[in-house]
Symmetry: C3
Subunit: 243 residues, 3 copies
């Protein structure tokens, strides 16, 4: 029942596609009822969307990439599986979004485990369905402040604002996720799935109604010279850090 992201935890187009296919297989395999999402990359749950997919490419590529991001969210947010995020590393932007689609979030009590939708810090904007997912989780006011400031919450604050459900010592993240899973497994699947669907379908429908428009918005926004420049500068910085 444990699912691991491949070594590189930034969400490349390839990773997104594989992720969705794996998820579909698990959904259709009746022996699987729940999945614990965790990372095998030390220090990072997922670095989020892959900026190299959003920088220096052509509009068709941007459109394809964005459609894959949408697809992952759609699959995860309405998954019939119980999804539990076991977060033992940094969890910014797209990584945070993935955790927010889960039914429960366990975060390691380590000051490096920052979690949040920090898009504004890069000069970009979380799309409306990132917003909806966050508002559904922490409410309108907290989401408004967090999104505008691009806040990355340390564990205690993440717990207080409701970004995660539980903060535990790092070596207990997996075991906690497992015992939480046992609690969710105790509920009749059919009733739980219909209830989950009832809670989340209106949010999903909002994207489905305007999925193409959302892709067009993304493509035209990300293609702007000013956005490309600031992404390039950010990528340069990252490279220098690594080098």
């Amino acid at each position: 029942m444990k699912f691991k992201n491949p070594p590189v935890n930034s969400l490349s187009l390839e990773l997104l596609t594989e992720f969705v296919i794996s998820l579909e297989k698990l959904e259709n395999d009746k022996t699987f009822r729940g999945v614990i999402l965790s990372s095998d990359c030390p220090g990072v749950f997922s670095a989020g969307l892959d900026l190299t997919e959003m920088c220096g490419r052509n509009p068709a590529h941007y459109a394809e990439y964005w459609k894959a991001v949408q697809e992952l969210w759609l699959r995860l947010y309405l998954s019939n599986l119980v999804l539990i995020a076991a977060i033992s590393g940094a969890c910014p932007a797209g990584g945070c979004l993935i955790s927010l689609t889960c039914d429960y979030r366990v975060l390691a009590d380590n000051p490096k485990c920052l979690i949040g939708l920090n898009e504004t810090l890069l000069g970009i904007i979380a799309p409306f369905w990132f917003r909806d997912t966050l508002v559904n989780t922490i409410g309108h006011r907290a989401a408004e402040r967090a999104l505008q400031l691009g806040l990355l919450f340390p564990p205690a604050e993440a717990l207080q604002v409701g970004m995660v459900d539980q903060v535990v010592p790092e070596d207990q993240v997996q075991s906690t996720a497992l015992s939480v899973m046992a609690q969710w497994m105790a509920i009749p699947d059919h009733a739980r799935q219909l209830t989950k669907n009832m809670m989340r379908k209106p949010t999903v429908d909002r994207l489905l109604k305007q999925r193409d428009a959302d892709i067009q918005n993304f493509v035209s926004f990300i293609s702007r010279d000013s956005i490309q420049k600031s992404l390039q500068m950010y990528l340069e910085k990252l490279k220098q850090k690594k080098g």
Copy 2:
């Protein structure tokens, strides 16, 4: 101003009908401005919907029963009266729903006073207007978790999540409800009623728009063999416990 449920606190069709009629009378009697809802059945506020009305009957009966449940909710949720729930016993499912329609909830500090919409535990699903009432009270995220897991909150947790407004020692539930009532009575009726209406009407309108469809949904869901079987098993268990 005090209203008592008849001895059997499960919501039979007869009880629902009488409840709605009593409520209408009180609404139309200008000498009544508020009602404290409490139970004269020790240990239970209300056991919720009456499973014997939902099990082994014909579709017409299910439809009639569900319409009566809707009617009670519609009356309570938009009542012009100040409604205060004084809860000194268990408060699951439909009992919880009734308390959620009140303007204020006082709960006895007794570990047996569990409160929540625990439908999934019986393999059934809270309908969308139960969901809306809960989301309006405790927010989207807490409602999502509570509804999926069928959580029954003990007093301290019920207070923390916002399911109730106050937890007091068992012998102070009535006196607290009375002093809270005095606070609400101090507000000009007309302004208070219009404000309450403004807060709740959009939620009520959602059911009114699709009331018949909601009845049809209920009838077809409850008539399923699998649901009837699991309700029958549950009722058997209850009988064995009593015997």
Copy 3:
């Protein structure tokens, strides 16, 4: 970057008009990126709407006044500027509304600094866009109770319910507001503004769709004999207090 309300802090038609014009100038002046709203009237942030504009006048005046109130809210709630409320005095009704349109609220830790939408206490009703602004800030349940009871929260409760973001000693309100402003200034303007717009536009659109109807509602409500009488009584009381 600091903005002061003129000496009389009740929102007269003249003040509203000037306020909107000043705000427009600041929005268009690219050297201004944020504004701290505070009061130079000791003990009061703003007394709220000017009852003398709503009492003993003709319908055309009421309509003009209400349109100006709407206009202020529309400008403030979607302002591209970072707005921070530094509240060192009482903050009822319209004063509270202004603070709720800000991006952050700092309140002085003084029991006289009460904050809330207390319209029902005067026998009047907060319009639906006051409601929406409050629900966006403190959630549905807390808003329902606060609006019905016309609650004015003292600092500790205001912080707990989420009506304000921070409570500090009175002499630190301005300095705290300034350091909060520095935090908001650190975010790229464009991304922050688009994100703010995404969070708030749906709420603004609800008023824009029915702006004229809302004016008509206000005019017919405020013109009622019963409302005029209760406002006159309230104004008499205020005069006697002063005298």
